[in-house]
């Protein structure tokens, strides 16, 4: 098991290294420097600024400087928000993004699995159709359509909840969390349903029924592990995607999280900030992938014994 985790960590490290390298060069190759918009500044000022951000050095030195910074967890200064470092900006935005992401994942997993299991156990029942409808709607209607629609209904017309922002405590969380959870509820419930139906057809479930141990025990002890393994495999990357998916949510609901910072940084070519957030997102994704693999290995002895 330790070897298994070690191997996953090593792979994750490799991916992260590739991510660091690629991000750096993509940012350097992208057209338009961070200061090319301010054309009026004199050549001397331009040179001073470039020196301050080490943009005058050869690219390999810049890369070395960047990698060294990453290793010390210092992502350098932002080129747009003059008085802030990238670390400051991330630290200010991350709590909002994580809070929304966390609740969205919890709700998506609980509601999605419950709907999927109910649908699989009572196929073609009212619950099954409800879950199917939620599934179709959640997958087909994009976040950026349903988000504004809910805002228009619950905030502007009914005035129950704030339109956006972060100043109303839990009430400001309700709409962003629901909208972010919805497509995942849809996907998870479909996945759970299919996987549970497949598991119920497994020969080993038939063996368990033949043992006469009672339907509830068959369900709990013999079908849940098999049925939920694919869901767990999906949840890892999905959690990372939900946290990154909050880019849209933060735009729609005016939440000052890192997603909003990222879009602004990308539009303004604030390279250090873009790179910093990319690395953060990549790190989160890799971490969740490793966590998923470990959980699956705990549940499934066949994965554990691989290689």
């Amino acid at each position: 098991m330790l070897r298994f985790i070690g191997k996953r960590l090593w792979h994750g490290g490799l991916t992260l290294a590739a991510l660091v390298t690629l991000t750096f060069f993509v940012m350097r190759l992208a057209p338009g420097g961070p200061f090319s918009r301010n054309r009026k500044i004199s050549p001397e000022v331009q040179a001073n600024i470039e020196a301050a951000f080490h943009l005058d050095e050869p690219i390999w030195r810049q890369f070395g400087r960047f990698v060294w910074g990453v290793l010390r967890l210092d992502l350098g200064p932002s080129t747009r928000h003059r008085d802030y470092s990238v670390n400051d900006l991330i630290a200010s935005g991350l709590p909002y993004s994580l809070t929304i992401g966390f609740w969205a994942v919890v709700i998506a997993a609980m509601v999605g699995v419950a709907l999927g299991l109910a649908g699989a156990l009572r196929r073609n029942s009212a619950t099954d159709y409800l879950a199917g409808t939620v599934g179709v709607v959640g997958i087909a209607i994009p976040i950026f359509v349903i988000g504004p629609l809910l805002q228009a209904t619950f905030a502007l017309r009914l005035n129950w909840l704030p339109v956006g922002g972060i100043n109303d405590g839990w009430r400001s969380l309700v709409l962003p969390v629901i909208v972010l959870a919805l497509p995942n509820i849809a996907y998870i419930s479909r996945l759970t349903r299919t996987s549970m139906i497949e598991t119920l057809r497994e020969n080993y479930v038939r063996t368990a029924r033949a043992k006469g141990i009672g339907w509830h025990r068959v369900l709990w002890r013999h079908t849940l592990t098999g049925a939920l393994l694919p869901v767990i495999a999906y949840l890892g990357p999905a959690t990372a995607a939900i946290i990154t998916g909050s880019i849209l949510i933060e735009t729609i609901f005016a939440v000052p999280g890192i997603g909003r910072h990222f879009v602004d940084a990308a539009l303004n070519r604030d390279y250090p900030l873009v790179m910093g957030i990319t690395l953060l997102y990549g790190g989160i994704l890799i971490l969740f992938n490793i966590a998923t693999d470990v959980i699956r290995a705990i549940l499934d002895p066949r994965i554990r014994n691989e290689r």
Partner: protein, 326 residues
């Protein structure tokens, strides 16, 4: 028959399919005495496995059983799920065809065995585990105590089927249903596994219904044989007389298709021409299309299963010809 452990009366199994209803088992009646080994033979699709599934309440969702299955005085088909669960896995247990997929891959083998004892006999976890290890030892799993803590994928096919046998016999059932227990195994270990099953069953006085398409297996283990075709009983006889003097044309065809020592020199084994008819619900004898000796009546009227007392005790066949000519 008052001394019978199991008596099946007019069992039917139907499946609803998109293209209509199909009858997999049609009016089957048979009896099993305590300790007896009954073989059910037939080719694939003859409905032989479905008889077992119907008894265990394990038919597929689109299947429905009719008739009566009296086991120790209770009609299994009429029991509530709870009552049925008290019978299956305890007095009535089953071994399945494919040992590779019939064990739960996420659970330790010992726990899977112990589970039944905990539920049916009320043993504690530790007692049940100890009992499971003893049983694994009896089915000759080497180093049983350590093996019980392993997962199914760490066992070979033959070992898994022995685990299945251990699981089925652990509760000392009165009747064991075995659905082609060795077809998925290597030919070299088939006999070994079957002998083990029969030996352990004899020790506990457990009766067996052995479903197979392998007549060699039947000859080796069974006291009595029921030949099934198209979901209906074609012939029933004590094992030794069936091989010497088959009464039904279908049984004769089956025997001709079976390799034996004395036919090794003949270049070709016999085959039955044609393919099995589907459904089994049409009128007439289900075997009529492939039968070499059919009469005009065979296509219109279904031959009833009749006692052939003239041929010996316990013999029955469903054929106009055998009924007429002793």
């Amino acid at each position: 028959m008052t001394d019978s452990l199991l008596s099946i009366r007019d069992l039917g199994v139907r499946f609803r399919l998109p293209q209509g209803e199909t009858m997999a088992v049609d009016g089957v009646s048979l009896d099993v005495a305590p300790g007896e080994v009954l073989g059910i033979v037939g080719e694939s699709g003859s409905g032989k496995s479905q008889i077992l599934y119907a008894m265990m309440g394990l038919l597929a969702a689109n299947g429905r059983a009719s008739g009566q299955v009296l086991f120790q005085g209770q009609n299994l088909l009429a029991l509530s799920p709870d009552r049925l669960d008290r019978v299956r896995g305890d007095a009535l247990s089953m071994i399945f065809q494919d040992p590779m997929t019939s064990l739960n891959p996420y659970m330790r083998v010992g726990d899977q065995l112990a589970e039944g004892l905990i539920v049916h006999k009320g043993l504690s976890k530790a007692e049940a585990r100890a009992e499971a290890v003893r049983m694994l030892d009896r089915v000759r799993i080497p180093d049983a105590a350590a093996r019980a803590r392993r997962f199914p994928h760490e066992f070979s096919g033959g070992m898994r089927q022995r685990v299945m046998i251990a699981m089925a016999l652990l509760a000392k059932p009165r009747l064991l249903l075995a659905d082609e227990p060795t077809t998925a195994l290597d030919v070299t270990i088939q006999a070994q596994v079957l002998d083990l099953m029969a030996e352990l069953a004899r020790e506990t006085g457990t009766a067996i219904i052995l479903v197979t398409h392998d007549l060699g297996v039947v000859a080796r283990l069974c006291d009595r044989v029921v030949v099934l075709y198209g979901g209906r009983v074609m012939e029933e006889a004590p094992a030794e007389v069936l091989f010497d003097a088959p009464a039904h044309p279908y049984t004769r065809g089956l025997l001709a298709a079976m390799p034996r020592l004395e036919t090794v020199l003949t270049p070709r084994l016999g085959t039955i021409p044609g393919t099995p008819r589907s459904g089994g619900s049409a009128k007439g004898c289900p075997f009529v299309d492939r039968c070499e000796v059919r009469l005009a009546a065979c296509t219109t009227d279904r031959p009833p299963l009749r006692d052939l007392t003239a041929l010996g005790p316990g013999r029955r066949a469903a054929c106009y010809l055998t009924g007429a000519a002793p």
